[in-house]
């Protein structure tokens, strides 16, 4: 197992190097002059000269890459041209939003998707099965941004003045703020620096839980429901389909037939004998979807007015904020690679046959 992990880690090294190169190249390839786009069209030559000097933009490209590599390895992702703040600071602010969104989306997907698949497989070829699979098929075919808009219309407008009303945008209602847990606990933490407490405090629901602000928690959760549903629908459908097909395959295996022949109740056959083994491909799919959720996050965050990673990436790419583009694509790609690694390792752990290859 350790050998497998080590091999996977070594394989990740050239990929990570490639990612560093691509993020760097991507940022340099963005058309337009970063100085003019940051300081306005009327910035003078001298001002731009000083600007380029400050951000190291008048070095040669290989030199820039060298400096970039050195800085990244020492944990310095540079300073945002537009915000004038270190990229790491922005990450403390933005990353938690996306992490929270992704978590709840995944939670939604798993909590709905797996039971859907189970029911579908249990009532194989019945109308329930057909209906569930139609739902799942529609679920994977929906544009995320459209679903988000429709949900915010449905719950924000059509259900206005009913108990079903949900806030269609933002993270917290106006007038509600949750005290950072480190302040409540009397810890001294620099809220701007890239620290774990700062990161956790920006995950509203978790922070509210830590300081036991039930009112704040409720509000934060209510704001999470629609974005999580919008983002979670595609993985939900994929998980439902995967659970169903993998369960059906396992149900056809001899050991399950043996269990049935022994007179084990069908519910027990499905839940106890088959389900655990059927879960293996589902775990992989969950991992793979987790990565692709980041794509959907850009759209979901745009629709629901959440300032997360996706949103800042889109803004900085279109606004030519080099350092932010570099920093955030890098962190996303690294997270992506890391998730894949975890999934593969988990899979290898669950299925010893994989390790032999």
């Amino acid at each position: 197992m350790a050998g497998y992990l080590a091999r996977r880690l070594t394989l990740a090294v050239p990929v990570l190097l490639g990612i560093l190169f691509v993020t760097f190249a991507l940022a340099r390839l963005l058309p337009g002059d970063p100085c003019r786009s940051a300081l306005g069209e009327r910035a003078t030559e001298q001002i731009c000269e000083a600007f380029n000097e400050r951000y190291g933009l008048n070095e040669s490209i290989p030199e820039q890459f060298r400096i970039y590599l050195r800085d990244v390895l020492s944990g310095d992702l540079g300073e945002s041209i537009k915000f004038g703040r270190p990229v790491t600071e922005l990450m403390v602010e933005r990353l938690p939003v996306t992490v929270e969104l992704t978590f709840f989306a995944m939670l939604f997907a798993v909590l709905i998707g797996i039971p859907m698949g189970l029911v579908s497989a249990y009532y194989h070829n019945s109308s329930v099965d057909v209906l569930t699979m139609i739902t799942a098929n529609i679920g994977v075919s929906m544009p995320v941004f459209w679903l988000g808009l429709m949900l915010s219309y449905l719950f924000g407008v059509a259900f206005r003045d009913t108990v079903l009303w949900l806030p269609p945008s933002g993270r917290l209602s106006a007038g509600i703020s949750i005290e950072p847990f480190y302040a409540a606990w009397g810890m001294s933490v620099n809220p701007d620096a890239l620290t774990l407490p700062g990161f956790i405090a920006n995950i509203n629901t978790l922070n509210a839980l830590l300081v036991q602000d039930w009112n704040g928690l409720g509000d934060a959760l209510r704001h999470m429901i629609l974005p999580a549903m919008a983002l979670g629908t595609i993985p939900m459908s994929i998980i439902a389909r995967m659970t169903r097909s993998s369960l059906l395959e396992v149900l056809g295996l001899n050991y399950v037939r043996t269990a049935r022949a022994k007179g084990v109740r069908e519910t027990k056959v499905v839940l106890k004998h088959a389900f655990r083994n059927a879960l293996l491909p589902v775990v992989t799919i969950i991992g793979l979807s987790l990565g692709s959720l980041l794509s959907g996050a850009v759209l979901t965050e745009t629709v629901f007015g959440l300032s997360g990673v996706g949103r800042i990436l889109y803004d900085s790419i279109t606004g030519r904020d080099y350092t932010v583009v570099q920093g955030f694509t890098l962190i996303i790609a690294v997270i992506f690679v890391f998730i894949n690694l975890v999934v593969d390792t988990l899979y290898a752990y669950l299925d010893p046959r994989i390790r032999l290859e």
Binding site: P14, V15, G18, I19, F21, V22, L26, L29, L30, P31, N137, I138, V140, S141, M142, P143, V144, F145, W146, L147, L149, M150, S152, Y153, G156, V157, A158, P168, S245, L248, E249, G252, G291, S292, L294, S295, G296, V298, L299, T302, V303, G310, L313, Y314, I317, T318, V325, T329, I332, A333, F336, V337
Partner: protein
């Protein structure tokens, strides 16, 4: 050949072999297709897909409008909302449902609707009130000293002209003030603006006065020989037409001098211009005539079995509709305006007081004393019938043709019809949403297929070469693919589009590039699997070249998973292209692309959800079709997965 005879008897074909031979030769593709069409979901996918292809091909015929044309010159407040057919999920009014019901508070003596149908006015006794059609709210009150006989909207809806006693009142709708009063001796019972609102006419039974709105003077007065039957402006305001006795007369609108007289054998019952004012329709006795309005020649004459009371045009030249209507007792008659053929006879069941054609020329409205009916102008079918207790005083088409406005007794009503105009409403730029959605099909199918083809070609070449050659080539190619796969696809696509610059073509390129690794991986694993098959070794033993082995032998056999992946990939490509367009990086306005349409109207989600709803549904259906087909193909190509 003697060979077979010298062989031992065993190699002779058995009966089972003979049975095999009697079947026609069948390729694997054909078998796959046969398996495919046994799957209901795949059939559904194929059906949807072929429908979409047909829609894409015949988009110009299906679309009711030009997808890029702005429908009205001035987009008015709330116009898109009113024209929306609403989302059926939340309960939509159907044909015959009253969507607005205004109790005026007294018997309506006159009523009128403005050009965009956003405002209605009603006259009750000496009071005239302007109502908001949408929410039945009172917009403006206009009090007069004497009972009001007539009222009219100026073409830009800024002014209202009323006739009360011997006075004409000009009201300013913006300031809600009386602008001025003018005098029409004898008291007008008809007031009418010309097309640009620079002039208007007022008429009593025997006199027609022409007014100018710059000087507010009467520029001409027309004295008729007999009782007035009709009076009207032509479209550009140069002519005034009047009808009295058995004569239609045309007058110069600037000088008030007679230009021409069109004589009829019998007394006239009606006379009217067509919408473009190129022709005049008259009814007289049991005959119907069409005159050319510039040469004053009679172009057409038609006879009917009964006397004709009221004529009207049913014309929409842009859609090729050229018909005329007339009423005879309780029947409405439809003729072809070009050759005079009698097309339809619609039985209203009671004497028809008025007949009118919808703005698009697709529906006919008739009303008697108590019943309003709407008919299909093509096949004569009845679309709706509404019976009202109070006598009907006036009916008019709503400007979109999606509703009729009915005044009866004390009440003004807006009654929904199901005219298929603006099936999906109009967007923020007042373009027909339905036509745009229809044209969007072309783009989406094109986007899906081109991006995936591009990605498949490059992915398959790189993946196949990597798998076939192996070694360091394989290593380098697949490491590059790994790096590309390390980025979330949409973010990579956004970055690529930003580098290339926004636009549909660049968005397609970006999506293709992002898709390449997926196909490369599938192609590579397919090639690796097939490479070791004996039939490939057999080719090598024969001395077949590597290139030929790869492209003629290995790739066709590694194709099945690629086809599945590509079909499913088309759906994803359409979604991603829509997402890029939604973010403003793909198709640029005014291109009718679904994602771009959604993006442009996303701020209207709370006021006009249908503008977001329909393009999204269209995307979903298209993607669903490809997904169903892809799933079906996967099962058909690999029967082991059939479950």
């Amino acid at each position: 050949m003697q060979r077979a005879d010298s062989l031992p008897p065993e190699p002779k074909l058995t009966t089972a072999d003979a049975a095999v031979i009697s079947r026609p030769p069948k390729s694997l593709w054909r078998e796959t297709l046969e398996r495919l069409i046994r799957k209901p979901s795949a059939i559904l996918g194929l059906v949807i897909l072929s429908t979409l292809v047909l829609i894409a091909i015949f988009a110009p015929l299906i679309a009711t409008h030009d997808p890029l044309a702005v429908l009205l010159d001035v987009p008015e407040e709330g116009v898109e909302k009113r024209m929306s057919p609403c989302i059926h999920l939340f309960g939509c009014p159907e044909a015959g449902d009253t969507v607005t019901n205004i109790d005026v508070g007294g018997p309506i003596t006159a009523s009128a609707v403005n050009v965009s149908s956003s405002l209605m006015l009603s006259a009750t006794g000496s009071n005239v009130t302007i109502w908001d059609t949408e929410n039945a709210r009172r917009v403006m009150e206009m009090d007069h000293e004497a009972p009001v006989q007539a009222a009219a909207w100026s073409p830009n809806s800024q002014k209202v002209l009323t006739a009360s006693g011997a006075e004409l009142y000009v009201w300013d709708v913006n300031t809600r003030q009386l602008n001025r009063t003018l005098e029409h001796p004898g008291g007008a019972d008809l007031v009418m603006w010309n097309a640009d609102g620079t002039r208007f006419l007022s008429a009593d039974q025997e006199t027609v006065m022409i007014w100018d709105t710059l000087s507010w003077n009467a520029v001409g007065t027309i004295e008729l020989d007999g009782a007035r039957i009709a009076a009207a402006w032509n479209a550009n305001g140069t002519l005034v037409m009047t009808a009295s006795g058995s004569q239609v007369q045309l007058w110069n609108a600037f000088s008030g001098t007679l230009i021409n007289t069109l004589d009829h054998d019998a007394p006239l019952t009606s006379a009217s211009f067509n919408p473009a004012s190129t022709r005049i329709l008259t009814t007289s006795g049991s005959s119907l005539y069409i005159w050319n309005a510039s040469s004053y020649q009679q172009e057409l004459a038609a006879e009917y079995s009964g006397p004709l009371d009221h004529g009207a045009w049913l014309e929409n030249l842009s859609r090729g509709v050229r018909k005329v209507l007339a009423t005879s007792g309780s029947t409405a008659v439809v003729w072809n305006a070009v050759n005079g053929d009698l097309l339809l006879e619609l039985d209203h069941g009671a004497p028809v007081e008025r007949v009118s054609g919808s703005p698009l020329g697709t529906r006919i409205l008739t009303h008697g004393e108590h019943v309003v009916r709407v008919w299909n102008a093509t096949n004569g079918g009845e679309v709706m019938a509404v019976e009202l207790e109070d006598p009907i005083s006036n009916t008019a088409w709503e400007s979109s043709g999606g509703a009729v406005l009915v005044a009866s007794g004390d009440t003004l009503r807006v009654i929904k019809t199901s005219d298929y105009e603006y099936i999906m409403g109009v967007d923020g730029n007042v373009r027909d949403q339905f036509s745009r959605v229809i044209y969007g099909t072309r783009l989406s199918l094109l986007v899906g297929i081109t991006t995936v083809s591009f990605a498949v070609v490059f992915g398959v070449i790189s993946g196949a070469v990597a798998g076939f050659l192996g070694g360091w080539v394989d290593n380098i190619i697949m490491r590059i693919m790994d790096v590309m796969l390390a980025f979330p696809p949409l973010i990579l696509a956004i970055a690529v589009v930003t580098v290339l610059g926004p636009g549909l073509v660049n968005a397609l390129l970006a999506i293709s590039i992002v898709f390449i690794p997926a196909y490369a991986r599938v192609a590579r694993s397919g090639v690796l699997a097939v490479k070791e098959e004996d039939f490939v070794t057999a080719d090598r033993a024969l001395g077949v070249s590597s290139v030929r082995i790869l492209f003629r032998r290995i790739l066709p056999n590694a194709m099945a998973p690629l086809i599945v992946q590509a079909t499913l990939g088309i759906g994803t490509a359409i979604l991603d292209a829509a997402a890029l367009s939604f973010l403003g990086l793909g198709a640029q306005p005014p291109t009718p692309e679904w994602g771009a349409m959604l993006g442009a109207e996303r701020n209207q989600i709370f006021t006009a959800p249908h503008l977001v709803f329909y393009p999204g549904i269209a995307i979903m259906i298209t993607v669903l079709a490809f997904n169903l087909l892809g799933d079906g193909l996967r099962d058909a190509l690999d029967p082991r997965l059939d479950r």
